[in-house]
């Protein structure tokens, strides 16, 4: 079911919000123990909100288009009065003291928050296996990972536990799990959505975005959360000249898509390369033109990212000291001094991947190494930004894969950090350049879901969401 179908059903009184919520929790209670998408369910909040919506409908009053829509939220975005763990032991007992701006905006839209979803600890990872709290399984194959770090959100939408979800994307954490789970995921332009109330991981890269069953639904959710916010100085006003919901399809058919040779040269598995070729033909049949473009510094993205990202992580995660946000040490623990409490709390409360990145980030920022690593990476970042600027001289949108292969098996890569980092090769250049990227399920036959990626110019979400809507309108899903 899509959001607009849900809204229509609600307004036509085919079902009530309360009935919908009740049914949803029955489904979650019977199926989520196997999948593990949720860390916390919010039934009290959800039922109260559903009753409120039903009483508004009974009075015949108008409701916003997202009213009553059940949404899941990555457990790194704060909802006042609710637990928020970032899937870390160090925050296991933390309760959020305010609403994130995106939550505040969605509350104004009268949505229903179903629960908080699992993630790689502090959003660091590509499989959700780094969660310190539980494993999440891919609803399409329980032996496989849902992707990450927003794996719980992607799995919740794919399993039908919610009509949409919020995630965060620092290097691919929305687009990659969306591709693995067969749902739509949007990473907006850096600055398009306020990050106030999102636990900061890598501040020059982090962005909040939606998961949904269709590109139209993702557009509705993005429209509701975007815009300037005085609590996030990197946020910018929404460009209201763009029609996200009812795009001009005939104009979109005249668009030129760039194919970056560096993304298609090597690294992709055969079935993925074949699927990309099929999607390209589908888009060409719609009238869209393709031109070759070059992003020559693509191969340096991984090193650039894994210097800048851990550097910012090491600074942002200094706040988790075992004193604030509830402690992690047992009540009987009596340290000799404050430093001992910090060392013990962080040693015990943070997981292996988080420690690895903090240590790596501290190293690249440390005296004697800063210029060789951090400054160098910021310079290469400038070259990567320039690559995209040049490519956008020739093309309106860039066409790319999301992942080199479909979802891998649980445990397959969890012991080798470098091979896990390589999972994000096609997504992290987009974060480095601050661009919007959309992951759309390819409508081709495949055992496991395959996603393709549309990368837009800065603040031109309308282009990629419009093209995505065109694709979904004109290309039928493959018959099973």
């Amino acid at each position: 079911m899509t959001i607009s179908e849900f809204n229509k059903g609600l307004r036509n009184k085919e079902f009530s919000a309360s009935e919908a919520v009740k049914k949803l929790y029955q489904k979650i209670k019977s199926e989520d123990p196997t999948i593990g998408a949720f860390l916390t369910l919010l039934p009290d909040l959800a039922i109260a909100q559903a009753q409120k919506i039903d009483s508004v409908i009974a009075k015949g009053e108008n409701l916003p288009p997202l009213a009553g829509v059940p949404l899941a939220v990555k457990d790194i975005i704060l909802i006042e009065g609710q637990a928020c763990t970032a899937a870390s032991k160090i925050l296991e007992h933390y309760t959020a003291s305010y609403d994130a701006t995106v939550i505040k905006k969605l509350k104004e839209q009268e949505v229903i928050f179903v629960g908080k979803t699992n993630l790689d600890e502090f959003a660091m990872g590509s499989s959700t296996e780094n969660s310190a709290l539980q494993i999440t399984r891919n609803p399409h194959d329980l032996e496989r990972v849902p992707g990450g770090s927003s794996g719980g959100s992607a799995a919740a939408v794919a399993a039908g536990f919610a009509l949409g979800a919020l995630g965060s994307d620092t290097g691919g954490s929305i687009r990659q799990p969306a591709a693995f789970c067969g749902v739509v995921g949007l990473k907006p332009t850096y600055g398009a959505v306020s990050r106030y109330g999102l636990m900061a991981m890598a501040s020059s890269l982090d962005q909040i975005g939606p998961f949904a069953n269709s590109v139209e639904d993702a557009s509705l959710l993005f429209q509701a959360i975007r815009g300037e916010d005085k609590f996030d100085s990197t946020s910018t006003p929404a460009d209201d000249g763009q029609d996200l919901i009812a795009p001009d399809f005939s104009a979109l058919k005249n668009m030129t898509l760039g194919i970056p040779s560096e993304y298609f040269e090597s690294g992709m598995e055969n079935n993925m390369a074949k699927a990309m070729e099929q999607v390209k033909e589908q888009l060409q049949d719609l009238g869209v033109k393709f031109v070759p473009v070059s992003l020559p510094h693509t191969k340096y993205s991984l090193s650039t990212y894994y210097i800048i990202q851990p550097a910012e992580v090491s600074a942002n995660l200094a706040r988790y000291d075992g004193v604030r946000y509830e402690g992690v040490m047992p009540a009987e623990y009596l340290p000799n001094d404050l430093q001992e409490l910090y060392f013990e709390s962080r040693g015990k409360g943070l997981g292996a991947e988080v420690k690895r990145r903090i240590i790596l980030g501290t190293f690249v920022l440390s005296s004697g190494y800063h210029d060789a690593y951090y400054k160098k990476a910021q310079q290469v970042r400038a070259l990567i930004v320039k690559d995209f600027e040049d490519a956008f001289q020739k093309a309106d949108v860039i066409f790319a894969p999301v992942t080199p292969h479909t979802a891998f098996k649980i445990g397959e890569k969890s012991n080798d950090p470098l091979s896990m980092y390589l999972e994000d090769a096609y997504t992290l250049p987009v974060n480095i350049a601050g661009l919007p990227g959309l992951s759309i399920p390819a409508r081709v036959k495949s055992d496991m879901p395959i996603g393709f990626q549309l990368i837009g110019k800065r603040f031109r979400e309308a282009d990629i969401l419009g093209l995505g809507q065109l694709y979904e309108k004109e290309i039928p899903p493959p018959s099973l």
Binding site: Y98, S204, T234, Y300, S303, R324, N431
Partner: protein
């Protein structure tokens, strides 16, 4: 390619700066992983960036100011209940200086 960029002493120094206690097994794994990752970073030296202006932050926005206003919100103290210990309205933490240092 340099075979050893970070030594055990170097790692322990960095862990100290990062305020993290490492178990011996964690030390071994980290030394190995960091060596792999830092070796991978060597590829950046293929690029001449001597004339490139580094990108700071992820945005082209500059100097975001707002009018000074009061109050921005009434959330002061909202985080107070997140502290595990409190005494007489103060937040309670272990001593900053070791007891032995107090005597000295």
């Amino acid at each position: 390619m340099p075979d050893k960029i970070i030594s055990r002493e170097g790692l322990l120094h960095i862990a100290k700066l990062a305020r993290i206690n490492l178990l011996p097994a964690e030390e071994e794994k980290l030394l190995h992983d960091l060596q792999d990752i830092l070796n991978h970073f060597e590829e950046l030296n293929e690029l001449d960036t001597s004339k490139v202006v580094p990108v700071n932050g992820g945005t082209y926005l500059k100097n975001i100011f707002r009018e000074d206003s009061y109050p921005l919100g009434s959330r002061q103290g909202a985080g107070k209940n997140q502290f595990p210990k409190e005494q007489g309205g103060f937040l309670k933490v272990p001593p900053v200086f070791k007891k032995s240092e107090d005597k000295a």
